[in-house]
Point group: C2
DNA sequence: TTGTAGGCGTTATCAT
DNA sequence: ATGATAACGCCTACAA
């Protein structure tokens, strides 16, 4: 069943069928309803491949979500859905595995779906090589700062990861902690991990607190298990810490378990602070102290920036949104 | 960049380019490598739309994952990837939001990508109405029992939800619990929720333990928050329980927090048991006792069943895989 | 082994 | 407002 069949059946030409089906103007109401009726009754559906092969533009905004199962992204996808649903555009959501290249994926989808703009939820600057220049629609990276990337059509909205981590450490220091270990990602691989680590180091430097990267830092993927292992490795190091900062909430959770198994209680013996502000954190016992990223604002600003670039040709920009320190049950003031 | 461009660039004809790119025979090794090299260096990618437009079948297996962020599914997707990578087929993964209709989605994708078979990770039998009959390739539903659905091409592999829940309750009963509350999904909406609830009721009936659905059961979506709220509602009911069974691990976690906030300790005051066997459960304090679904086996059997249907026309079947009771720290024996 | 040409189902551009 | 027709990028006979 193709539009050709429909054309025969109704007596109109394929062009008219196409226009009627796609809600184009220049189709008389009578003709339109006749065609729609015929289409419905025969269960006709347009062939997407053929459609997109020929189309030069869709009215879609593409959302590429890097990392299935990222709780923070989950909320943000919903917010973005909501924002876009109030415009005349259609949102096309693509969830992809974390370890794939989001730029390659986006380019593929751009060629196939021809969206008017792209939102990246999570990204790695390393992947935005010159091949990205093949993408010519406005793009915005959310949760990662893409300033410094030499693309006129690439904006970003992010939390200031460096400052967020710095304030987390400041918080711990203000509560009397001097012996603090850090667990996080691999700073050589992930921009986010690097920035967060830098923020920590800055805080230590400000207070003249020594920090030995080889001894006091452990990295890996952001996962329960790596948090768990990282703390085990730290403890094997022999040094005792009064606080641990995890550059991601998921790692903090694994960390707490590892501490428990070594007979250390949180927060009585060791304080643990995370970063992200996952909803899960408030359901744990103890509730996880953390730096809360404003996921709603990240999402809404991301959409807004994209729309302005799409519709008004507004030049790319790189925004930062505020975060919030949540002093919750997993940290303890050990002064006096 | 199309194969036409590649043809010009390399001096070969488009037909040769196409054959080389698709690994067809009748292309001299020299020609093939020259073309592949040119394609790589120019970052060429085939246009899926054009490709699928002409093709009647791809060599793909479609995996529809219903519910982004489902930890159990995360592992299973990896296992399925692995299994399929050892065959001559290509896996096409589609992650979709939980509240969309997976059958509609699958039908759309079947029309577009023309896969040889479909695996559903998570599904709701309600969605398999007669419109599913438009799908004519073998399909297998994983984690849900599709027996009873009148489709010759639809298999399923699942945990026996009813029995799993029954044994969870049996476990609690064997540890001396008689006053048990249940939190779970809405049995009117979800097959899984209904089966799990039925299993619980059966266990209670076997032991002559009274259970008042209106008082002792609370439902909602499977989420931290709903587990939390469900327990709050139960506690407001005035009755005191020695154990709570959550029909999903995520709810168990919210439940533990709600208990804590009411001054009840787990497992000292109340035992909490979940169902699913999420990795997260082992990182919590206390570790979450639960019924562990064998995600690896579910995944591998799912693939195997599909392949046999695809390749040997083996008729549809409905399998059940074993589960395992994990008696962990969140439950306590209160006898004597 | 390689080249050529027609067609997949749709949209878009001209005419009418 | 409608019709005819040329693309869109690829695959696949069939011809060379």
């Amino acid at each position: 069943m193709t539009i050709k069949d429909l054309a025969e059946k109704t007596g109109y030409a394929v062009g008219t069928i196409s226009r009627a089906l796609n809600g184009h103007p220049n189709v008389s109401p009578k003709t339109r309803s006749a065609i729609l009726e015929a289409a419905r009754e025969s269960g006709f559906q347009l062939n997407t491949n053929a459609k997109q092969l020929k189309q030069t533009h869709s009215n879609a905004i593409l959302l590429v979500v890097k990392g299935v199962g990222n709780e923070l992204f989950g909320e943000m996808v919903e917010t973005i859905q909501h924002c876009v649903s109030q415009t005349r555009y259609q949102l096309l959501v693509d969830y992809m595995d974390e370890d794939l290249n989001e730029v390659t994926r986006a380019m593929q989808l751009c060629r196939e779906r021809k969206p008017l703009g792209v939102i990246f939820l999570g990204a790695n600057n390393r992947n935005f090589q010159k091949e990205f220049s093949a993408v010519d629609v406005p793009c915005v990276v959310v949760t990662n700062n893409a300033r410094g990337l030499p693309f006129e059509n690439l904006s970003s909205v992010s939390t200031d990861d460096r400052e967020a981590a710095r304030q987390a450490i400041e918080t711990l220091i203000s509560m009397g902690h001097r012996s603090i270990a850090i667990i996080g990602g691999d700073p050589a691989i992930s921009d986010t991990s690097r920035l967060r680590l830098e923020g920590c180091m800055a805080a230590f430097a400000d207070h003249g607190i020594p920090f030995d990267l080889n001894r006091d830092y452990r990295g890996g993927r952001y996962s329960w298990h790596n948090g768990y292992e990282a703390v085990q490795a730290l403890l094997r190091g022999g040094k005792s810490y009064t606080a641990i900062f995890a550059a991601a909430d998921v790692m903090a959770i694994g960390a707490i378990r590892a501490l428990w198994e070594s007979g250390l209680r949180v927060p009585q013996d060791v304080s643990v602070m995370g970063l992200d502000g996952l909803p899960l954190g408030t359901y744990l016992v103890p509730q996880l102290a953390t730096v809360v990223q404003d996921s709603a604002l990240l999402a809404t600003r991301g959409v807004k920036i994209l729309l302005e670039a799409m519709e008004n040709g507004k030049p790319a920009c790189h925004e930062t949104v505020p975060f919030r320190i949540a002093r919750r049950e997993s940290i303890r003031d050990i002064r006096g």
